[in-house]
């Protein structure tokens, strides 16, 4: 007669048995390390940042006064500071919008038409730029966009040199060359963050069944109507996810505007210089809170508008 059970083969089997009897124990053990990391290191430092932003700096001694005040936040509204916020948010919004427009056809092709080898080409093409160093790419772009760079050379070569000059003559966004104008900053931001828009968009579009598009056509809708009423609403969670990346990454970046652009400050650069040479930690913290608040407002609006309903 054989027994109804196999003998335990060692501690592994006993552990499996323990987890089978108490499934919550396994969940707790698995969650403990990430929760410690998130809770202490991540949330903890965020709280520290938030607390610092409510302190102020003594103008004479230059020391941080650890007393609660809203004065530091008030300083954000000084025109020179407020311009920085406005400039950064405008840039982030422009980059995000352009990324949506550029990413959609790529993501749509990958989700609906690419199969097998073409799918591999798509992933490779989108991910490849992420494998090389961010700094190398940005400096490469500085050369590409420079006055003596390939873009100027190519524009002159095809007789479009005056078009480029006209674009650069545009007030505010123009400049001496592409690499010293907002246009240049915008182009490089767009290049660097585009993959973060394409991938979530592609994932969202992939989840839209083909029969959904056929149903729309079957009910009489043309291509534009289907795009507007079916594809875009269903892809919206992906668009929002992608825009969270492009928007927040642009809001926080301090290297690209420092290397390429008009040398006017963005939020990231301001935080960097305030906590460094100026030693004004409270104002740096207040500046750092701005992108967080903007993102919270953005997500709330997105949620209210039903962007996540299809999830």
């Amino acid at each position: 007669m054989s027994a109804a059970t196999h003998p335990a083969r060692g501690p592994g089997d006993r552990l499996t048995g323990l987890f089978w009897r108490r499934p919550k124990l396994l969940t707790a053990l698995l969650l403990l390390p990430p929760l410690l990391w998130l809770g202490v290191v991540y949330i903890g430092s965020l709280v520290a940042l938030l607390v610092q932003s409510f302190y102020s700096i003594d103008r004479f001694s230059g020391l941080v006064v650890p007393e609660f005040t809203l004065r530091t936040y008030g300083e954000l509204l000084i025109p020179s500071n407020f311009d920085i916020i406005l400039r950064t948010v405008t840039m982030a919004a422009a980059v995000t919008l352009a990324a949506v427009v550029l990413a959609f056809p790529v993501a749509y092709f990958a989700a609906r038409h690419a199969k097998g080898r073409w799918k591999a080409v798509f992933y490779l093409g989108v991910m490849l730029p992420l494998w090389s160093s961010y700094l190398v790419k940005v400096y490469a772009w500085k050369l590409i966009l420079a006055k003596e760079g390939i873009v100027t050379w190519a524009a002159e070569g095809i007789g479009a040199g005056n078009v480029l000059s006209a674009v650069l003559a545009t007030p505010v966004i123009g400049g001496n060359s592409l690499s010293t104008s907002y246009i240049g900053t915008f182009l490089v931001f767009l290049y660097v963050w585009l993959p973060y828009m394409i991938l979530p968009m592609q994932a969202a579009l992939e989840r839209v069944p083909a029969s959904m598009l056929e149903a729309s056509a079957d009910l009489g809708a043309g291509g534009w109507r289907t795009l507007r009423s079916v594809i875009l609403p269903l892809a919206l969670p992906g668009v929002i996810a992608g825009s969270i990346f492009t928007f927040s990454l642009t809001l926080g970046d301090y290297i690209i505007p420092q290397i390429i652009g008009s040398s006017r400050f963005f939020i990231g650069q301001t935080v960097f210089s305030l906590q460094g040479t100026a030693g004004n930690i409270p104002l740096a913290a207040a500046f750092a809170v701005v992108p967080i608040v903007i993102m919270l407002v953005y997500l709330t609006l997105a949620r209210k508008s039903g962007a996540f309903d299809a999830l």
């Binding site: 069944p209 029969s211 056929e214 056509a217 079957d218 009910l219 009423s229 269903l234 039903g306 309903d309």
Partner: protein, 353 residues
């Protein structure tokens, strides 16, 4: 009268695969037409040729006499109930139903009122505010039906409309679809692999096999007078008798079909044999009987369980399926039985040379 849908030697090839091959069909206006066949037989492709999601490789599809060669799906006056329903998850049930009207520019108030009417027609009044995800499978099916009917199509296409429902609901929906079709008078064309569904709902059936139409006819034509071996076997798993056996049983030299339920167990009859297997079906028992002395290799199984007897008599010597209705004593596996049937039950198949 112009047929609602007409196929003129239509083919649809995908590379070397002939999904639909030289199909000629004519579907009369107001018909409840079934396209029946196993998976891969071309029936769904034919449906998609009507809706416009497939283009014929050769031949012409006509709807009410008009050639559809250059008409895209959104301009065909034909609507589809999709197999997975394809309801828009981000829209309420009411907006889903009103979609076809919105696309055509019907004013909001009018189209929502019309959507309400359609929901009432499929007995879903009061469900308009819900999202499709909040509905059961059967309710979603009704929404898909209402959405397809709201634009008053001249032909309604249904792709395996009841495939995802459980048996009880499926039977209820069969009756409902049938009465809906009779009330609206719209031509319904539906695709199914379920022969009982086709037999009970349709008034004409096309049986598909390997991209071709094996037979078109009324349900009783198809069931009682199958034209080919395939039809006889696929619809109701008939006994297919090769010419030799037909001759042995007193008929002419031709392929014949003999329905299992037409065969009776009697004391003195046309054929004697040994029971080699039995499958209990609830409403009856399906016996496999080997005529004459069974070869040792296909005798009854030692454990008395059902044997996997092949069905074509030409392949397995003389195995024959017999349906014993409930209430009649079922002989044991291994028992000797005598079989008899009315001479008219032996149907000669014209489509087999």
């Amino acid at each position: 009268m112009t047929p609602a849908v007409e196929f003129r030697s239509v083919s649809r090839h995908f590379g070397v695969v002939k999904a639909v091959d030289q199909v000629d069909l004519s579907i009369a206006e107001g018909a409840f037409f079934a396209m029946l066949g196993p998976s891969g037989s071309g029936k769904t492709t034919c449906l998609r040729l009507i809706s416009g999601f497939e283009m014929p490789s050769a031949g012409a599809v006509r709807i009410f006499g008009q050639d559809m060669g250059s008409v895209p799906p959104n301009r065909r006056h034909v609507n589809t109930v999709f197999q997975d329903y394809a309801l828009f998850p981000h829209m309420s049930v009411r907006d889903n139903v009103a979609y076809g009207l919105m696309v055509r520019g019907v004013a909001r108030r009018a189209r929502l009122a019309r959507a309400e009417e359609m929901l009432a027609l499929v007995k879903l009044d009061g469900f308009g505010d819900r999202k499709p995800a909040q509905l059961s499978g059967g309710q979603r099916q009704r929404v898909a039906l209402a959405r397809a009917l709201v634009g008053e199509p001249r032909v309604l296409l249904l792709d395996e409309p009841l495939g995802a429902l459980d048996l009880k609901l499926r039977e209820a929906m069969q009756d409902e679809l049938k009465s809906l079709q009779q009330r609206l008078g719209i031509t319904f064309v539906f695709v199914t692999h379920d022969q009982s569904e086709a037999l009970s709902m349709a008034d004409r059936i096309a049986v598909f096999s390997e991209g071709r139409v094996a037979q078109v006819g009324t349900p009783s034509d198809i069931y009682q007078r199958p034209a080919t071996r395939f039809v006889a076997d696929f619809v109701g798993s008939s006994n297919v008798l090769p010419p030799d056996l037909t001759v042995a049983l007193g008929g002419p030299r031709a392929w014949a079909s003999l329905r299992p339920e037409a065969i009776r167990l009697v004391a003195d009859g046309r054929l004697t044999g040994t029971v080699t297997g039995a499958r209990y079906l609830g409403a009856g028992t399906r016996l496999m009987v080997q005529a004459g002395a069974p070869p040792a290799s296909i005798g009854p199984r030692a454990d008395g369980g059902p044997t996997d007897a092949p069905r074509y008599l030409g392949q397995d010597e003389n195995g024959i399926a017999v349906l014993v209705p409930a209430g009649v004593a079922v002989p044991e596996v291994g028992a000797e039985v005598t079989l008899d049937w009315e001479p008219s039950a032996l149907h000669l198949m014209a489509g087999e040379a």
